[in-house]
Symmetry: C2
Subunit: 424 residues, 2 copies
């Protein structure tokens, strides 16, 4: 006998059994419907990208140690995409001449990172990516925050349940200039350190800060701890009715490509520490590919933190999968008749399956109930001869007997009227 | 200045710009809706699988040379899934005790193969996978073929446009036994050769056949060229109204795991040589993982051949993406007012975007028209002061002026009533 192999998935990734997948599809559906209301169009690409796409914008260390990168047999260096921004920049640059601005694009890619799996950080996860290209107006920054806000509201969250933090890289550059800090490389290193601020003990943070800007550490601390004020974006958001917005000078965002507004949204439940989403404005995302600059603003929102939040706040709806009606023939000889009947139900728009197993009727009824299938239709030779059938509602226990025509009208009406859960 | 990098995707994979993605989503939607009518539930898994999953069922050569397999930094051998069947077998075996049979499961995975890209064969493609587990009854084989047939019909194909070929591994084993061929290994090699029959020159086929079964080549040829007859499955399909079915003794299917019925569907257009879909019955798919056998029947249907067929037969619907209404403020100072108006349209269910660019009005109108956005709303300070706006239908050229309330009622009515294409 052969040694049996494990049924576990690869380390750090998930299997999606029908219930898990239904939840993932629910998330994707809310994402799609919301962003399409704002006029966004969906794109996608392959999970494979040339590794050079990440080499110039990300540090060597990240490409080599935190991504899945390998050499293919054609000697090409391939990376499984760790983020979507370089891909969308490549695609926009590739068809710049045919594309009509402004572009509102979104995607729901699976992304890969090679790191030790931990809560909220998996090796494969899905992310909503939204970008608005070809507009430098503040209104597009404001739109992006409104869209993010609407997404969370469409998952049933109220504005009290999350906080929108805003900052601005240009304004930070001005603050730094005012204390004599103007070297872009130093500011980059400083920004990356500030991005890690909440993850470090305060003393470590201060000592690292002292290493980067030895004589200006206090001045920098004063800037990033400045009390709330307002800027153009927060004023506009206030006018549009968003009250859960704060201007936070300590908000940095890790990526180098941001050049203007940056924002992150957090759950008000401080136990959920990771941002639910984050994004910002970039001046020239396509510089790697061409000299024609394309500016824009965008954000990404992962499925893992969101799912954590929806589960912990009880916001996930009850989602149903599977047939509405299960046909159970009393005798296996009637299995083909059962299939013919199922075909008739399909034509009426009632999702129908047949239990062909030669098991006791009671066992099969029990199984249908266990799966929470709302209706069953049991039939034997008598029913076929008389062309009269019985449909039972497993929730209410009620039964209805009659011709297929009568049952059809009843069931179509009932299933349109009410549903015991959300069918996607 | 930095050297610019290419905007081409990785070799053998596709970029999906919004129009391409809309077509892919249309295909996925027809797939999902059809199979869900039959009571199938969707599952998924990661693209990563332990390589050992493929080692025992596929030849070493295929794993090493035709898949993307690499060693990760934890010394695990990982494969990017080349097919979904081993994954679903792993998942079913992993939760065998909790799962209520019969299971009707489907998935739409992206699959990877490392081979020279050619027409209809890409390095990454998507595939609908359907399986019915836990029933050995012929009716489940028949259901699977009905489902495949319904899928093609739901893409607008008529039964004259495709041919369903059926065969049966058990029946073939009996034929072979009748001519004294009983060694399973020889029958496996023979079956794989017959699977390649149409791809080989007839003489090469005959000579290879002679090598495998030196004294029985003629008898085997007689069996596989036998004129159409019927078996239990084709009789049942005929009874259910499927007339484009033939019993084809030369139909082999490449995979070793089939043990009963096998089937493939081809376009009637003989220029499209690849099968549109194929599948069959297996007795024990979970043997790798456990001693409890799980039998079933299933098929896979790729997106590439299907898209080829739909394009060549003109069956693809016109699919629209993007907003229904574009707001164009005459002055950039009104951009935030435009966003506030867009938010009001979102609340009415009208997908709306704003063109914030400081370009001439005429240029922006032209761009909206080029993108085939059905409605535009141009407004300046006068309109804001009077709270009276104009919405223009770019298709008919008609304009309507009035309060937001009046325009809203009109537009909601119009866009519900007719659409210039299919919004998914």
């Amino acid at each position: 006998m052969q040694k049996k192999i494990s049924t576990e998935p690869y380390k750090g990734v998930r299997d999606f059994y029908p219930r898990d997948l239904a939840i993932r599809e629910y998330i994707f559906k809310v994402w799609s419907q919301t962003v399409e209301q704002f006029g966004y169009e969906r794109y996608d690409a392959s999970v494979f990208e040339p590794a050079e796409l990440y080499r110039s914008k990300t540090s060597e260390e990240i490409v080599n140690e935190q991504t899945y990168t390998f050499i293919d047999r054609g000697d090409r260096e391939v990376t499984l995409r760790p983020e979507m921004t370089p891909t969308v920049a490549r695609m926009v640059a590739g068809k710049k001449r045919d594309l009509v601005m402004p572009l509102r694009w979104y995607s729901i890619p699976n992304l890969f990172r090679y790191e030790r799996p931990q809560r909220g950080r998996l090796r494969e996860h899905w992310q909503l990516n939204c970008d608005l290209f070809g507009s430098d107006d503040t209104a597009s920054d404001v739109e992006m925050v409104c869209l993010a806000d609407q997404l969370l509201k469409n998952f049933g969250l109220t504005s009290g349940e999350f906080i929108i933090r805003i900052n601005d890289r240009k304004e930070m550059t001005e603050f730094y200039a005012s204390i004599g800090l103007t070297d872009p490389a130093t500011i980059n290193i400083l920004t990356r350190l500030i991005d890690r601020k909440t993850k470090l003990p305060l003393d470590d943070f201060k000592s690292e800060l002292g290493n980067i800007v030895p004589e200006k550490a206090e001045a920098v601390l004063e800037i990033i701890n400045a009390p709330d004020k307002e800027n153009e974006v927060t004023k506009a958001l206030d006018r549009l009715g968003l009250k859960n917005v704060i201007l936070d000078r300590s908000l940095a965002r890790g990526f180098d490509y941001y050049t203007g507004m940056v924002f992150e949204i957090f759950s008000s439940n401080t136990e959920l520490k990771r941002a639910l989403l984050g994004g910002g404005r970039y001046d020239n995302l396509t510089g790697l590919f061409s000299d024609e600059p394309v500016s824009g603003v965008g954000f990404g929102m992962g499925d893992v933190s969101l799912l954590d939040l929806l589960e912990s706040t009880g916001k996930l709806p009850q989602i149903k999968t599977g047939p509405k009606l299960m046909i159970i023939p009393t005798d296996s000889k009637l299995n083909l008749d059962a299939l013919a009947l199922a075909r008739a139900w399909h034509e009426c728009g009632i999702a129908t399956a047949v239990d062909y197993r030669p098991k006791a009727l009671g066992k099969r009824l029990q199984d249908a109930d266990k799966r929470r299938i709302p209706y069953v239709m049991v039939f034997g030779t008598d029913e076929v001869v008389k062309a009269e059938y019985t449909v039972k509602n497993l929730t209410s226990g009620e039964s209805q007997t009659g011709s297929f025509e009568i049952l059809k009208n009843r069931l179509v009406e009932e299933t349109e009227g009410r549903q015991d859960g959300l069918y996607l």
